[in-house]
Amino acid sequence: MYKSIIIVIVIIIATLVAVNISHEDEPANLKLEQLKQKYAFKAVPSVDHHKLGVLHKKFETPQEVTETCLTCHTETHKEVMASSHWNWDRLSYVKGKGVYASGKKNVLNNFCIGANSNEKSCAKCHIGFGMDSNHYDFSNARNVDCMVCHDNSEEYFKGSSMAGYPDRTVNLENVAQSVGLPTRNNCGSCHFFSGGGNNVKHGDLEVSQLSCDREVDVHMATNGMNMECVACHTAPNHQMKGKLYTVSTNNINRAKCQDCHTTTPHFNDVLNRHGSKIACQTCHIPEYAKVNSTKMSWNWSDAGKLKDGEPYSVEDSLGNHSYLSIKGSFDWQRNVKPEYVWFNGTAEQYRLGDSITTDVVKMNTLHGSYNDRNSKIIPVKIHRGDQIYDTEYMRLIQPLLYGDKKGDSAYWNDFNWETAAKKGMEIAGQPYSGKFDFIKTESYWPLNHMVSPKDKALSCVDCHTRTGGRLENLTGFYLPGRDTNKTLDTVGKWLLIFAVFGVVSHAGLRIGQDIKNNRYKKQVIDHNKEEQPDRLDS
């Protein structure tokens, strides 16, 4: 009775364990199904702007369109003009630096360096009209560009170096009647092309996402959820949710995976627990720039070489510029594995006028460490390069790059760093010693897009491995499978060897003694003695 109960219990436990271990197919993820249903629903707009009489007229200037918009949306300009898309800066608090406004207005980068003095060209991506200098009037509502974000006709685009004005070929009347919620086309017209070309800056935002499959981006895939940018980047009162830490600083109003997927998205509890120290993106964005290459490095120090007095360009095997006389040399890469850093949601940027204190200037610093409870490991693209700095005043230089014609000191026309640096710093209102050189720089681009399907996500051994793991360079904490206590391992190894040696030699001695004492022989003889009579009988 007693025995059979134990046997039954053991069998039950063994079966449960076996079923649990061998069970492969996952039950349906209801959370995910609900999300899919929610985002499959596409709202029908309550107003068809084609039917509004006020928009049926010939618009001479884009400002007239804005004025017409404001006749119905009477207060919307106030919302837009409070946004960072308009102001190109945000109020920030940075520990040790205090409260200040920072953004595209005063932050430098290691691509085209900075907007200051180059507004006419850079303002192609400002949601306003007529920004041709750093004395722009940010309080003039007439200059708000509603169409760049809300045009659904795919006809609207801003002209090159036209200070944010639309191209002259755009039919404003048609555009004004076709407005609606922003689509990927609207956002992408700037965010896909930041840095002067497709996928130059981000690495995870590019034209392929207008029409891609799930392998590239599970959210935006046309054969998947086909989500628009604004599905996640909601914008109540025109304040966009989500931000990029090359220009923003504070841990507020971020667009997070957890907002939809919750903090327990996996069935596996061990995976959910990883979320306390590892961002979703770390495992779910195993690589970026999956379709078109992204720029990984930019050396301004190589710029200015001329052939027969004329600027030239060199292309790499994929058709990307690897050299441009006006910009220097570049390195492009595709299907790039991210690098990984600790990040707690706060950052700071190199602002025009900051002193250089390190050998490599970090254009933006992502704060965070293992010991910081709010920090998680995130994947980043690190863009490395070099650029011009003032060797005497130890600060980066904002050169004048874009100019209308030769001779106005712009580097892209004259190829003269001396005059471009002098003129650029003069316009920016910064001191310049006249002495310059080039210094190495890095910028950190957190990766949030191009989420892969779950079967492409990183697996355990991508990090939990002795050598060659994704987190190999992220030290200062104990990662099971990667880290060991070397002393303990050595001591343990010798303990085991000693134990085996001890056991074997003890056994050897015993056997040796037994043989010496003829113990085995005696037993055999005894045995035979007992059996001998039987044998004789037979």
Binding site: Y2, K3, I6, V10, I13, V17, N20, I21, Q258, T263, T264, V270, N272, R273, G275, S276, K277, R373, S459, C460, V461, H464, T465, R466, F477, Y478, P480, G481, R482, D483, T484, N485, L488, D489, V491, G492, L495, L496, A499, V500, G502, V503, H506, A507, L509, R510, Q513, N517, R519
Partner: protein
């Protein structure tokens, strides 16, 4: 010599399932440690966790068993004959001498075993278990939940857990070898499988300790022949 029912059913079940679990935990554990690659890291972790819950359950039940049956008294340490026992293993057994301590139903363990098994139960297993539980619950929280184990560095949790594992394997090696030092090389293992062992008749005992035990330990199943 007489056949004595020395290891009861639960005791044998507990002994062998614990042995299997510890060996399985060692294999999966050292795979997680990065020592070798058998199941793959993900499976090794899952197996290690499942096996650890089973072991925890087994230990809880076995503690209950030890106390309700009074078997815990088998582990009360004694220095009596300790030296002789050590001397036996190191010198005397090579000279063909007999065990200095007699094995009986009420005194299964010799003084050296008592000491080793007691420290196994009170030091080695708790050390590995507690560090293992801390390892398992480490950072088990998200933004909305409570931190269970956070401030204790994982590095030292892993250190104690690994140390425990290494000592357990050392114990295992020596323990398995020591089972061959019985009447015949396999008699001890046979006893742990069947429950019965040929023991010398328990004639006049001069051991006071034993008499004390006799009074306290519940009468055990009648000896079968």
């Amino acid at each position: 010599m007489s056949k004595v029912y020395i290891y009861k059913g639960f005791e044998r079940f507990w002994h062998w399932s614990q042995a299997l679990l510890i060996m399985f935990l060692a294999i999966t554990g050292f795979e997680v440690h990065g020592t070798f690659d058998i199941f793959g890291f993900e499976k090794a972790v899952a197996f290690h966790r499942t096996a650890s819950w089973l072991l925890l359950g087994l230990i809880v039940i076995s503690i209950f068993w030890h106390f309700t049956t009074g078997e815990w008294r088998q582990y009360i340490p004694t220095t009596k004959n300790l030296k002789e026992q050590l001397r036996y293993y190191l010198v005397d057994m090579f000279r063909g001498k007999k065990h200095p301590t007699k094995k009986t139903q009420l005194r299964k363990l010799n003084p050296l075993q008592r000491l080793v098994y007691l420290s196994f139960k009170l030091v080695l297993i708790p050390m590995t278990l507690i560090s293992g539980i801390m390892y398992m619950l480490y950072k088990s929280f998200d933004e909305n939940n409570i931190v269970i184990v956070e401030d204790y560095p994982l590095e030292s949790i892993a250190f104690w857990h690994t140390l425990g594992a290494i000592l357990l394997i050392v114990f295992l090696i020596v323990h398995v070898y020591m089972t061959t030092t019985g009447e015949t090389p396999t008699s001890n293992i046979k006893a742990m499988v069947t429950g019965y062992e040929d023991l010398e008749e328990d004639t006049k005992s001069s051991d006071k300790n034993e008499n004390e035990n006799k009074e306290k330990v519940n009468p055990i199943k009648k000896v079968k022949k």
